[in-house]
């Protein structure tokens, strides 16, 4: 059923892009900033706000500094990939759409035990929560499935359905390997390239940076600066650049966390500061779209003709 060689990491991505493209999603490219999850991408975070419809899919590199293991743990990375799908409004057959994508990856649901296991999602920094499941494939979590209820403190209407595939996990399963670094990235006329060839050194060096070299004082400074900048931009009604500053602040916070520079009680305060900014961005974005007359709502009716 697969058009691409899903036994390679890139084939897996191409297959998912192809599938969701056929379902009508705009395939956009990764965000060029450090983020902890695909949800941060404006195509998900901002677009799930307000009444305008949108469906898109994209790969998002994610950075979670505290998860770094210097390339020594076969299952943990500080930099990895998610494949993110957001469908707004969430279609009635969204579960079936997802399951069909698995079939296209060569996963036969009559062989494997596929389950929707309750898992509710909450992002304190984004002021967002939703209800849904993690998808189990023979007991392994391969996807996070969420119906957004609130984003940036605003109620979601209509509701966005978010599907987040953990690409490395899924690939390890399909390729039947026990270490991320043994994943085949591609196997073509130029020979075989492994995940480790591409990223192992990066994991070692970035872990070292995250845990040992990241300049704590400078990061605290960055956090404060981004916060100030974001507040200023919100004043100016520039929701998108203001939101970029939030993501930068959030990444600075994650690095500080990896450096154990933030105490337990302080931690809560920093999360609250990021959330306050996220909420302000969400509101600014909504106001701007409203001012513009929610153009995608109108475009939809026009284009249907």
């Amino acid at each position: 059923m697969s058009t691409f060689n899903v036994k390679t990491f890139q084939g897996l991505i191409l297959q998912l892009q192809d599938y969701w493209s056929r379902q009508g999603c705009a395939i956009v490219q990764p965000l060029d900033l450090e983020v902890g999850a695909g949800t941060f991408h404006p195509m998900t975070f901002l677009r799930s706000i307000g009444p305008e419809p949108m469906s898109s899919a994209y790969v998002q590199p994610c950075r979670r500094p505290t998860d770094g293991r210097y390339g020594e743990n076969p299952n943990r990375l500080q930099h990895y990939y998610q494949f993110q799908v957001m469908l707004k409004p969430s279609p009635k057959n969204i579960q079936e759409l997802y399951l069909t994508s698995l079939k296209e990856l060569g996963i036969d649901p009559l062989v494997h035990d596929i389950r929707f296991v309750e898992d509710n999602w909450e992002s304190p920094t984004l002021g967002a929560w939703g209800l849904g499941w993690e998808i189990w494939l023979n007991g392994m979590e391969i996807t996070q499935f969420t119906y957004f209820q609130q984003v940036g403190g605003l109620e979601c209407a209509p509701v966005t359905g978010e599907i987040t595939y953990g690409l490395e996990r899924l690939a390890m399963y399909i390729q039947n390997v026990d270490s991320i670094y043994d994943l085949v990235w591609t196997d073509g006329p130029m020979g075989k390239v492994l995940y480790g060839d591409v990223f192992h050194q990066n994991e070692v060096e970035q872990s070292t940076y995250n845990f040992e070299y990241a300049d704590v004082d400078a990061l605290f400074g960055t956090f404060d600066q981004c916060e100030k900048e974001s507040e200023k931009l919100i004043e100016a009604g520039l929701a998108l650049p203001a939101y970029e500053q939030v993501m930068k602040a959030s990444h600075a916070f994650n690095l500080l966390d990896a450096r154990h520079a933030i105490s337990v009680t302080e931690r809560q305060r920093y999360i609250l500061r990021v959330r306050t900014l996220s909420k302000a961005c969400a509101q600014a974005y909504y106001d701007k779209r409203e001012q513009l007359g929610f153009p995608l709502c109108q475009a939809e009716t026009v284009r249907e003709k």
Binding site: K92, V111, D113, I114, V117, V159, D178
Partner: protein
């Protein structure tokens, strides 16, 4: 009357497994009570639940309600007709609204007057008319902690709804609920059955779903799972550890259970069983298996939702998931053992117990001193108690406990053994958190009791000391559980400890950290308030508990003795009269504002009944005093019960509120002394018959 089977099914996306049974049984109760209320008769009613549906089936349900005769009263005759006998506008209007003519109206004649009357037959409504409303209001009453929306819908439910099946026999009951129109369609197994099922008849619901690979009967599915797990365990010569909560969760996660066996590397069994069991149960919802001697096997049983074309792939997939988790546990265990618990003490310096109350290190030191104090009272080894108290929190700093918080204490025991601590000390580390929940085991040995009590008292005093008592359902430090734990340990282990004394000692140990001046009283009141739950669980009547609570004894064993005494007292023939007499005396005394005499004055006695009461009381008192000395409350109360006859006689014959002030005060003094004798044990005036 015609009867048929009614089926109601709500088809959804996967429902939260821990809530499924509650949802289904609430749905059932709601539907049943409404069906009963509207007088629809049936043979039996049953609930069904799977991850993707909630359903109710009612057998032999009548098609409609019985017709009812209703009487509708019209205008009074003098209003209905003028003096010529012509019907008034009001009368004509009333008749018209009832669809009759004035001539057809009956008369209602009472001693208050005469009215027009219409005896109407209200036809019973059919199931088609009644059921949609019943279902809709039953759904609205389901307990949903976080309702959600989906798509562009404004309706809310616990998960998106796809089908509403309402069948009476083979007829569809038309209706719309949560934005879905009813039909005879439902969904089968997600993978084993393509497309919708067209149900032919409500009667054959279970079978038609079974044909579509859905075992819809929850209880049947659960017993199937249990028997399959037991069979699987037998196959590998083991005994499966079937925890009720896990079983319920797993039953709620599958429509078509298929039980499989997986295994892991035997080497992992060198790690203590508890963290391995937690990884299997909590993370993966597997059932661990012991051998017949009770040692953990390197195999596990799990429940899938598919009759796989290749079960081996499902098994190896699951084995692949559990392996890194067990490897983590093994790694943590090996790393942790390299460091002694004692050497971790200093690292507790950097962990806060609570911001205002200081670090876990300081808490450990307080627990150590308090454990030592308690051990001394119990004639146990003080040194061991101190040591166990001091090390009690060190395992929190181990990698294993950071990853698996549920094994706190247990890992402390293993690591203490590894460090060659005394075996009593090691056991106490595991015991300190007991009892962790209602019905949990108590500490095995008394050193463990000492540390468990010390830790709990320390937390109670500290949190009350900074004015953060539990509010409503907010009890972040689990103080209620701590208080009940203290009560249970002291009573069930028969420990001679007084909570007031422990609390004072604990307050002292906090030094100037305690800002709340009322700490002692508040903690004691809080503990007292827990007795109700504790004794109600043992079916002790609430009035008995209340009677003892009036006295507020702070030593739990003392409390227990009084409970037994009052329970026994309540069985005596004299109990009811004495409760009433005590109440009466209490009321009289409450109204009296003056001062009583220090002692009853025999020179002021006037009446025979008064002398008799005083004599009997004196002689009873002589017997009671030594009984009170040894806290034999039961014998004391039983003895005091003999006061019944003289006190009844006294009230029958003597005017307490005599005109002579001195005599009055003297009588009140006597009654007060009697009442105090009872009150020294319990306030029996609150007993109900």
């Amino acid at each position: 009357m015609l009867t048929n089977t009614l089926l109601i099914e709500l088809g959804t996306e996967e429902l939260p497994p821990k809530l499924l049974k509650t949802l289904a049984t609430t749905f059932y109760k709601q539907i049943k009570s409404q069906i009963d209320d509207c007088g629809l008769v049936y043979d039996d009613i049953k609930w069904y639940a799977t991850p993707r549906r909630l359903a109710i089936k009612i057998n032999a349900l009548v098609e409609k309600q019985e017709d009812k005769e209703v009487e509708k009263r019209g205008p009074a005759i003098n209003v209905a007709f003028d003096s010529h006998g012509n019907a008034s506008k009001a009368a004509l209007g009333w008749a018209k609204s009832n669809g009759i003519t004035i001539e057809q109206a009956d008369r209602l004649i009472t001693d208050k007057g005469e009215w027009l009357l219409h005896k109407a037959i209200q036809p019973g409504q059919t199931v088609h008319e009644l059921i949609p409303q019943i279902v809709s209001s039953a759904i609205a009453k389901l307990p949903i902690p976080k309702p959600m929306r989906w798509g562009s819908e404004r309706t809310q439910f616990i998960r998106p709804v796809h089908t509403l099946t309402m069948l009476y026999g083979d007829q569809i009951i038309k209706g719309e609920i949560l934005g879905v129109s009813s039909s005879n369609l439902t969904q089968g197994h997600r993978f084993h059955h393509e497309g919708a099922i067209v149900l032919t008849n409500a009667n054959t619901y279970e079978q038609e779903l079974k044909d579509a690979y859905v075992q819809v009967d929850y209880q049947l599915r659960q017993s199937l799972i249990v028997s399959e797990i037991e069979k699987a365990a037998e196959k590998i010569n083991g005994v499966a550890l079937i925890d009720d909560d896990l079983l319920e969760e797993v039953t709620s996660l599958v429509e078509w259970p298929v039980v499989l066996i997986g295994s892991f590397d035997k080497n992992f069994l060198q790690v203590p069983a508890e963290p391995l069991i937690y990884s299997m149960k909590d993370h993966q919802k597997y059932f661990p298996v012991n051998d017949k001697q009770g040692n953990l096997l390197n195999q596990f049983i799990f429940v899938t939702n598919i009759e796989s074309k290749d079960p081996q792939q499902v098994i190896s997939g699951n084995e692949k998931v559990i392996r890194p988790r067990l490897a983590d546990a093994e790694f943590f265990y090996k790393t942790d053992k390299k460091q002694t618990l004692e050497s971790r003490l200093s690292s507790l310096e950097s962990v806060l117990f609570q911001k205002e109350l200081g670090t876990l290190k300081a808490k450990s030191e307080r627990i150590a001193l308090m454990s030592e104090y308690v051990a001394e009272k119990l004639n146990e080894n003080k040194k061991q108690a101190y040591r166990a108290g001091l090390l009690s929190k060190t395992d929190l700093m181990s990698e294993m406990v950071l990853e698996f918080p549920q094994v706190q204490g247990t890992m402390g025991k293993y690591y203490a053994e590894n460090d060659n601590e005394d075996i009593e000390v090691a056991q106490a580390l595991e015991d300190q958190y007991r009892p962790r929940f209602a019905g949990d085991a108590l500490p095995k040995a008394n050193i463990g009791c000492a540390v468990a009590i010390a830790d709990k008292v320390d937390t109670l005093v500290g949190i009350f000391g900074i004015n953060q008592p539990p509010k409503g359902d907010k009890d972040p430090f689990a103080l209620r559980r701590a208080a009940i734990g203290i009560i249970r340990i002291i009573i069930e282990k028969q420990l001679d400890l007084d909570i007031a004394d422990l609390v004072s000692k604990s307050i002292e140990s906090y030094g100037n950290k305690i800002s709340n001046k009322e700490t002692k009283q508040q903690v004691l009141d809080f503990v007292l308030a827990r007795y109700k739950a504790h004794y109600q669980e043992q079916d002790i009547a609430i009035d008995v508990i209340q009677a003892v609570l009036e006295n507020a004894p702070s030593a739990p064993l003392d409390f227990e003795k009084r409970i037994k005494a009052v329970s026994h007292f309540k069985t005596l023939a004299a109990a009811e009269a004495l409760a009433a007499a005590n109440k009466r005396v209490g009321n009289i005394l409450a109204k009296f504002n003056g001062e009583l005499y220090l002692a009853f004055d025999r020179n002021l006695i006037e009446d025979v009944a008064e002398i008799e009461l005083a004599d009997v009381f004196d002689s009873l008192n002589e017997k009671v005093t030594p009984l009170m000395g040894v806290k034999d409350y039961q014998a004391a109360l039983t003895t005091l019960a003999d006061i019944k006859q003289p006190i009844d006689k006294f009230f029958d014959n003597v005017m307490v509120m005599a005109d002579d002030e001195k005599i009055k005060i003297n009588r009140l003094t006597l009654l007060n002394q009697i009442r105090n004798s009872f009150l020294a044990i319990a306030d029996i005036s609150v007993l109900q018959n």
